[in-house]
Symmetry: C2
Subunit: 318 residues, 2 copies
Amino acid sequence: MSGTVTDLGEVQTIRRMLARLDPPVHPLTLPVGGDCAVGPLPPGEWDVALASDPVIQGVHFEWGSPPAGVGHKALGRVLSDLAAVGAKPLWALVNIVARPDQSVAWLEAFYDGLNRLARRHQCDLIGGDLARGADFQAHVFGVGITPKATALTRASARPGDVLFVTGELGGSRQGRQFRFEPRVAEGQWLRAQAGHSAAIDLSDGLATDVRHVLAASGVGARLRIHDLPVAAAAAKCGDDRPPWVHALTDGEDFELLFGVRPAQAATLAAAWRQVFQTPLWAIGELTDQPGQLEIQTAPAARWEIVSFTGFDHYATHA
Amino acid sequence: MSGTVTDLGEVQTIRRMLARLDPPVHPLTLPVGGDCAVGPLPPGEWDVALASDPVIQGVHFEWGSPPAGVGHKALGRVLSDLAAVGAKPLWALVNIVARPDQSVAWLEAFYDGLNRLARRHQCDLIGGDLARGADFQAHVFGVGITPKATALTRASARPGDVLFVTGELGGSRQGRQFRFEPRVAEGQWLRAQAGHSAAIDLSDGLATDVRHVLAASGVGARLRIHDLPVAAAAAKCGDDRPPWVHALTDGEDFELLFGVRPAQAATLAAAWRQVFQTPLWAIGELTDQPGQLEIQTAPAARWEIVSFTGFDHYATHA
């Protein structure tokens, strides 16, 4: 009974992980296992979209988290980045760092989580590395494509654009961080619609990520708090902050936030609802006050300028 | 005086690292700093080549190693993988994991090492991530291109092919691991030559890596030990093993090993010497004995079948 990575050895461990994967949807010219994976692009003129994200034990998950959920999160973070530019995922590579006493069964479950999400979004896991380290880490690199010069950006928003968000926000630490659905199909669809403007995925929390759009586009935003899709989990965080504060600041929602020109907003939202089950919410508008974020906590309340600070990996958290 | 990553914070640390980089040679459609980097491919029909490698403190380098050398090694490993398939590097992404007390000056020197090598091989560093962890790690993800269906492989060798190796072998731990030159131009040139067969880069040591070619191509090999380009450093390893054993087994040479059809071998070697300063050595031939590795330790000596075991991240080393 091979319990740990050391019992099994590097080569056999890699085989056991690769055995959890589906056959590729986008076959390679050179298969997994060589110096590089080499794959052909489909016919047409493409831009290549590249993203990389880690999940690190003690930072992005705690020991005791469900391994399939950690695998889901590892790939999901990257797929969410690809979704935010409207890219179609093709391939992902995974560098695994594991302790010598790492259980192989845990790694297999981790790969099952990766594989299930990869299958759903037709993203082939095609390579990577296994190395020794002090704690578990997975670094996932994702490769996608967009038709030439069509990628969604953070920089194309204009004052007056209606601000939409997908799904629900807040309470990710209550479990949704391990089962969120990256909005891959939605991002590609949005890229092809008339009237779309800036887009971003919500990884650090709406209040932080909207500011990236404001900075890149040189606009401001007004958010109607009473229209936020607050997750039920945001009320179960065990602190005294109202659920809407969690929805603004928890992070790891991996929903899409995007603008639509006012003339196209109603049409686009109606078309969305024909295509997707994923909920879509109009939560505010963009303004001509660069960098300024205003919120309204109730329909008739006055607009308040707010400042929130984002997540800093090296800040001291209470 | 901002000493550590914690003093400076995540955003400022990233700015300080990015400030060490040259402007891009292959400009992006979407710049660094968004969810994805998005870049256009040059005109033509391309395959995409993808490689990922880590450098981990305590595994791939020891604390006290020169930080610029660690940066060099981090990118060099990936460029060497791209060289082995004959790909032209375009972009690399770097995930950095650093302790809260990581010195920012060390990170800047690390980035200087990355940047110098990237500049030489026209590979733009375009993205990545900075996160907290128990020890320093850098995970580099490289993206290159090859003209459609031309990538070098490990699988195209045939019995009779002449086996060549570049540069010199052995003693990488004496310092060359931090200053090797990945054979990027040589790999691309080789890809375009008549008569080339299988190719691989030497990361785990000639004796191990040649077996990957034998396995992929279904051939055997005879190596003339007296023709190996043994590095002077291989004699200074402070143990009683002869230098040629270091040349066969030390690993991290990051030289190219490749076959050439016998009829083209002399022509290709002569053409090489017109183009490159990089030494090229004929060190043996491929045979029709699948998986069998034979060595001859002196010109008139008999051929001996040898077995070596490769580096295993989870094996217990003496």
